[in-house]
């Protein structure tokens, strides 16, 4: 136990003191920067949290570099952006009936009618309060659950089980994301195949490079993800806008702001917030099910349990609480599988993993929470589990983020009324240039830029076919780890062809994966039948 406190202490210390023991505020400042820019980003219709993260990561690594010391400031900013964007998305939803981020879609259901009734201020404050409470709740669950889960999992998971677990998560994600699981799975497999381009583990030289020397080190990760996520979205927006013949409709007038939210009202919301946050947390802990599902589920539950279900959709604060507390609670819980297993469950988590894997020599996974004995060696420094210190540092940053969200967040939201007026038709071209520049600068010049463009086209086609890009991205990200695990498990078993089926746990997980695939196929047929 004492050891655990020592690690927590070191984690907190690492946020406020740099490697030389000098006091520094950089990570905390980056959290603040992230929160504020995140709120603004979320408030601009069309720009979501993952979007902000994708753009920020290459810029942040340009600024801070790849040393171990760079990780906490970068993570701080990413965490801040993630938290801020969820909060900010609600503002235009409430004021103008246009959600700033997809997960704020349901906030329009009651937030906008509230604003129309002259309760705009109350609606915004309700959403802010519920959002921050939900986020904090979910973070606390994360702090407790991730270590416990990781320790439990590390005991039972060996190489074959870890391989089976990745396969299972991928199948699960394809099954739950979007309404076209077969095509989602196909996208996941394609993503995995593309990630195998370049370096091999066997030492037999590069593979699948199409003869291009530049692909020898593999497809540049950040650029590829930037292309699939950000650029494809830019493409779709630009196309839709260029199609639209008529001029942009002018934004409606900002409605009457009305009276503020009282503390008594806040107190009365608490049970509803806790219920919605719990729903969001449970949903968030499962890979692939996103904020939108959490918000929908929570909204329906609240409506069902409410004494006045008729008021839902007509401007009841209960509706705003239900969606905002739930969608914000996803972000913390999503890090449970990320930190304890190294498996990202949504786009925001993808970027935290990318940051941790590329900066310094850290990694996420069950071994993060191994409490190695801390030893101080004269003249050499500490021997300890660096990843664990980083994990507690990350937790500290999240707490800081929540504090900033509480204090500055509400303040910043007052200015957001103007942000929703920033025209998308100018923002998108600017984001295009920033993305291309970031890909060039951070990922090996035209090699990165070209990758971003190719993956933008892939992402565009996937989206136009109404298939989720999530399985593609996650498959792309996890395949190298999976290959390494399978190779390792196979060789360490001494070349046993049935190495994956020797462990009951692995067999169960593979069986589940098989079941999911069969279910997807059947579902595809049912959907086809119901279409007719």
């Amino acid at each position: 136990m004492e050891l655990a406190f020592q690690y927590i202490g070191l984690g907190i210390h690492s946020v406020f003191f740099d490697a030389d023991g000098q006091f520094w505020l950089m990570p905390v400042l980056m959290v603040l920067t992230g929160i504020i820019s995140g709120i603004f980003f979320g408030a601009i219709p069309g720009l979501s949290g993952p979007f902000a993260l994708a753009l920020a990561l290459p810029v942040l690594t340009s600024v801070f570099g790849y040393s171990n010391e760079a990780l906490l400031p970068v993570l701080g900013c990413l965490v801040g952006l993630m938290k801020g964007a969820t909060v900010g998305g609600a503002v235009p939803a409430i004021l103008f009936n246009t959600p700033g981020t997809p997960d704020a879609f349901l906030t329009t259901a009651d937030g906008y009618p509230m604003a129309q009734k002259g309760q705009a201020r109350k609606a915004i404050q309700t959403s802010h309060f519920a959002s921050v409470m939900g986020d904090s709740f979910s973070d606390i669950v994360l702090f407790v659950a991730a270590p416990v889960f990781a320790v439990a999992v590390e005991r039972v998971l060996d190489l074959p089980e870890k391989s089976a677990l990745i396969i299972l998560s991928l199948c699960f994600m394809a099954a739950v994301v979007g309404n076209a699981p077969l095509k989602g799975l196909l996208g996941g497999l394609l993503g995995m195949l593309l990630s195998l381009v370049g370096t091999t583990l066997s030492g037999n030289g590069v593979r699948l490079t199409l003869g291009l020397d530049g692909l020898g080190s593999g497809v540049p990760l950040t650029s590829a993800v930037l292309g699939v996520l950000v650029l494809s979205e830019v493409l779709i927006s630009v196309e839709d806008m260029s199609r639209a013949r008529k001029a942009r409709e002018s934004l409606p007038q900002t409605p009457e702001m009305g009276p503020p939210l009282t503390w008594a009202e806040r107190l009365r919301m608490m049970p509803a917030i806790l219920r919605s946050a719990s729903i969001g947390t449970v949903i968030g802990a499962l890979p692939g099910i996103g904020t939108t599902t959490a918000a929908t589920l929570s909204y329906d539950t609240a409506k069902r349990l409410s004494k006045k279900p008729d008021e839902f959709g007509k401007g009841t604060p209960e509706g705003v609480v239900a969606t905002e507390a739930a969608n914000s609670a996803v972000s913390g819980a999503n890090l449970i599988p990320v930190m304890s297993l190294g498996i990202p469950g949504n786009f925001a988590a993808v970027f935290l993993i990318l940051a941790v894997e590329t900066i310094g020599d850290f990694s996420f996974g069950p071994s993060v929470f191994k409490f190695t004995e801390i030893k101080e060696i004269d003249g050499y420094g500490m021997i300890m589990n660096k990843d664990l210190v980083m994990a507690f540092g990350l937790f500290t940053l999240m707490v800081m983020g929540n504090i900033f969200n509480w204090t500055f967040g509400g303040f910043v939201m007052r200015f957001l009324v103007h942000m929703a007026r920033i025209p998308k038709d100018i923002v998108m071209p600017l984001i295009l240039l920033v993305s291309l520049t970031a890909a060039y600068v951070q990922d090996g010049g035209y090699r990165g830029l070209g990758t971003a463009l190719v993956f933008a086209v892939i992402g565009y086609l996937i989206r136009r076919l109404q298939v989720s890009t999530l399985p593609f991205v996650i498959g792309f990200l996890l395949a190298p780890a999976l290959e390494q695990l399978i190779r390792g498990a196979f060789t360490a078993s001494g070349g046993d062809a049935l190495f994956l089926l020797k462990s009951p746990i692995a067999v169960i997980m593979l069986g589940l994966s098989g079941f999911l695939i069969v279910r997807m196929v059947l579902q595809g047929r049912q959907k086809a039948a119901s279409q007719s």
Binding site: V238, S242, L430, L433, V441, G445, G495, R525
Partner: protein, 204 residues
């Protein structure tokens, strides 16, 4: 209106067929052309230590192998239920979409062309006008402002070009916003950060 609504799902549903067949063709190409020519290692190999281990083709072959039944399912799903309501729900890619993609890539490449060639053109002009002798653009690729001239011009082409595409017109205010963004990027990546180079300075 109602006629087009009836037509739409049929057209869309065909995309399951295209995708299914496309996947199958891709897999066949993988197995016959791509993998044999572009992977040195086999599926299962004997390592230097004389043991059997998965080779470099092992994983790609499994992945492409798994894609095949999915492609087959999509294709069969189309035929089994007739063209009206086959398989999973799907979107579609129209000719207009492809035309847009071509437009997008063309405009981007024009921008990139300016990025790559403005600097060398300036050097050529400088030497041609007898203002001095610069051996090559590379020699001055860390000298401000010539090292950012290409990015400046190319960046303006890309941003203004796409703003024109989305708005169908370009106001002076828009140009100013683009200008400020490009200058801001130059300030950050060329001014404030070390060891990074804006396009095209990393590929000389």
């Amino acid at each position: 209106m109602s006629a087009s609504r009836l037509e739409a799902p049929e057209k869309k549903a065909r995309w399951n067929l295209w995708l299914g067949v496309g996947t199958l063709v891709f897999c066949v190409l993988c197995f016959t052309v791509w993998f044999p020519n572009d992977i040195r290692g086999g599926i299962i190999e004997r390592t230097i230590s004389g043991r059997i281990a998965p080779g470099d083709s092992f994983f790609p072959v499994i992945l492409a192998g798994l894609m095949m039944p999915l492609g087959l399912l999509l294709t069969l799903g189309h035929f089994r239920r007739g063209p009206d309501n086959a398989g999973e729900p799907t979107g579609e890619i129209t000719g207009a979409n492809i035309f847009f993609l071509v437009q997008f890539l063309l405009l981007t490449f024009v921008g990139l062309f300016f990025m790559s060639n403005t600097g060398p053109a300036l050097v050529w002009a400088w030497n041609g006008l007898g203002l001095g002798v610069i051996s090559s653009y590379r020699a001055v690729s860390t000298t401000f402002p010539i090292n950012v001239a290409g990015f400046f011009l190319g960046g303006m082409v890309i941003t203004c070009g796409f703003v024109f595409m989305t708005r169908h017109r370009l106001r002076w205010r828009d140009v100013l916003i683009c200008l400020l963004t490009v200058l801001f990027l130059i300030l950050v990546f060329n001014g404030l950060l070390e060891d990074v180079s804006l396009p095209p300075n990393r590929n000389l």
